[in-house]
Symmetry: C2
Subunit: 327 residues, 2 copies
């Protein structure tokens, strides 16, 4: 691929046009229970209600709808822990392209089933031994398939950012201006797109990435100013947020626009999933619940403030969910 | 109480004004997975996202906000399997009134906890032996508390109907006109309010009540033209829908406006709860899932039609939910 530049707000706006009628315009909802719990006003953007159960469809469709089948006879290829896989598979199906997805063999069954259900071919790899990006790159080249990065591509970043554009428009309809935004962060594509969207519309808004403990590469990278790696590749229940380091393009955006990165433990994530079950009546997967976990754990002072909160995915297996409810 | 007349559309509209800023304006959402499954377009109104996790807050607040503390020094009293209890408790709290609620001793823990959490006093009864309405009537008279019927009062019916008014306005914003509406039915307060609201705005819309097997009093009453009783008082997982017979006022409305009543089995309800978990990412309690169950079970031909679907509550204990996911 050619060297790329990060997208701009205009790219997010263009992506939003492209996604109209294809992605779900997820609602902006409020919970008295959550507002009371944190002492502020929380505007919840439940992207678990998005097509395929996670925000990832946005970026995937934005990228894939721009490809031509003539140029890519093998369709698209991607590597993903699950939600990008589902998004790519569904977007490829809608665009009439084949999709080959490299997924970890221990991915949640629901993510494997959903990806397969959208017609993609799945190739599994061992999270501990194999280089998934290399496998996907080999497939792309062998099959003349376009590689769709999970986060480090301008079309992906811009696509994910459309959720932020929606959020700001929905807040405006309510006559509210968020003071800060919290969103889960793996490779940094979503948070970069969000930051581009929301800070263009309100430069004063503080944007925070939320990461699982031991996967705090953004927190450390923002401190050092360099892209830092995680020391481990697995070990958190947040299967969607285990990217090894910030993306190159995403970090160009995030190092400029983020106010910081917060970290939560797996136990705090389980608490958040239970809170969402009991009080929000939403199904969240671990990676989709980290921003809520940060809020509930008091990682950020939000008393009397208005907080935009991204809940990013709900693809969790029933047995894992049942286990969390029981714990 | 004085003999009452059923409410009109104007009462629903007035209730909507009263509830503005107090009740959640729940979103109208769509799921590609559900649309594909039934071959039609389903507009989902998730009232499990309502304050206290069920639509019941609407009617309770509409009724209670009209009371004066001077007239009712003992506040309010109610009997309820749980969601009306929570709605009444929360509405009373917001209006500065005491609340005494008669609840079955086997009510879900989350419903008991939520009601108690809103500051109500709870008196439990045995579903098989005690007459809950008599207990609540005695309390009302002893304490000078206003009895808040779970369904058979014009303010309750009108309040529940506000969800239908919202639904129609939201559908209009999307440029869609629903052909039919499916909603859960216990005593018939919600479905009566919905029918008043939606048929005023579109007389051609078909409105269907959905009941659990063995609690098909509305189906039989609509057939015979008289209010028929259920033969049993318990035995379905749909704890919210076990009212013994149609209300007097509600049946005056429902016998005129409903197109029919559909029946679903507990297994079909469990399937619907799992579908909502996997594909909608919403937490539903059994009683809140019966309309979805009817749709998924093909009780009504909806191919190429637009269906408004009420999901009415999500207050289910974690262990019961886990059991349903595992079954």
């Amino acid at each position: 691929m050619e060297p790329q530049k990060p997208p701009t707000f205009d790219d997010v706006a263009a992506a939003s046009e492209r996604l109209a009628g294809m992605a779900v315009r997820t609602p902006l909802i409020e919970s008295d229970a959550l507002n009371a719990r944190v002492g502020g006003r929380v505007l919840i953007k439940p992207e678990n209600l998005q097509r395929m159960g996670a925000f990832k469809f946005r970026g995937a469709y934005n990228a894939i709808s721009r490809l031509s089948a003539d140029q890519w006879p093998g369709g698209v290829a991607a590597c993903s822990s699950g939600n990008h896989a589902g998004g790519v598979a569904e977007a490829a199906r809608l665009c009439g392209l084949a999709a080959t997805i490299v997924m970890p063999e221990d991915a949640p069954h629901i993510k494997l089933a959903r990806t397969r259900g959208a017609g993609a071919e799945i190739i599994t790899y061992d999270r501990h031994k194999d280089d998934r990006e290399q496998i996907a790159a080999d497939i792309s080249s062998e099959r003349s398939a376009c590689y769709i990065s999970p986060y480090d591509h301008p079309d992906i970043i811009a696509g994910q950012g459309t959720s932020g554009l929606e959020l700001m428009r929905q807040a405006e309809e309510l006559g509210v201006v968020p003071d800060c935004l919290l969103a889960p962060c793996g490779g940094g594509g979503l948070i970069a797109g969000l930051a581009l969207a929301v800070k263009h519309l309100n430069p004063d808004i503080e944007v925070y990435a939320v990461e699982p403990e031991d996967f705090d590469d953004h927190a450390r990278s923002l401190s050092s100013g360099e892209r830092e790696c995680n020391e481990v590749l697995s070990g958190s229940i947040c299967d969607a947020l285990l990217a090894p380091m910030p993306g190159e393009l995403t970090f160009q955006v995030n190092s400029l626009l983020l106010s910081g990165a917060l970290t939560v433990s797996d136990d705090e994530v389980r608490d958040a999933i239970r809170f969402a079950f009991n009080d929000l009546k939403l199904v969240l997967e671990p990676g989709g619940a980290v921003a809520l976990a940060a809020l509930l754990s008091g990682r950020l002072e939000v008393r009397d403030r208005t907080v935009a909160l991204m809940l990013t995915g709900g693809n969790i297996d029933g047995d894992q969910f049942a286990g969390i409810l029981a714990s």
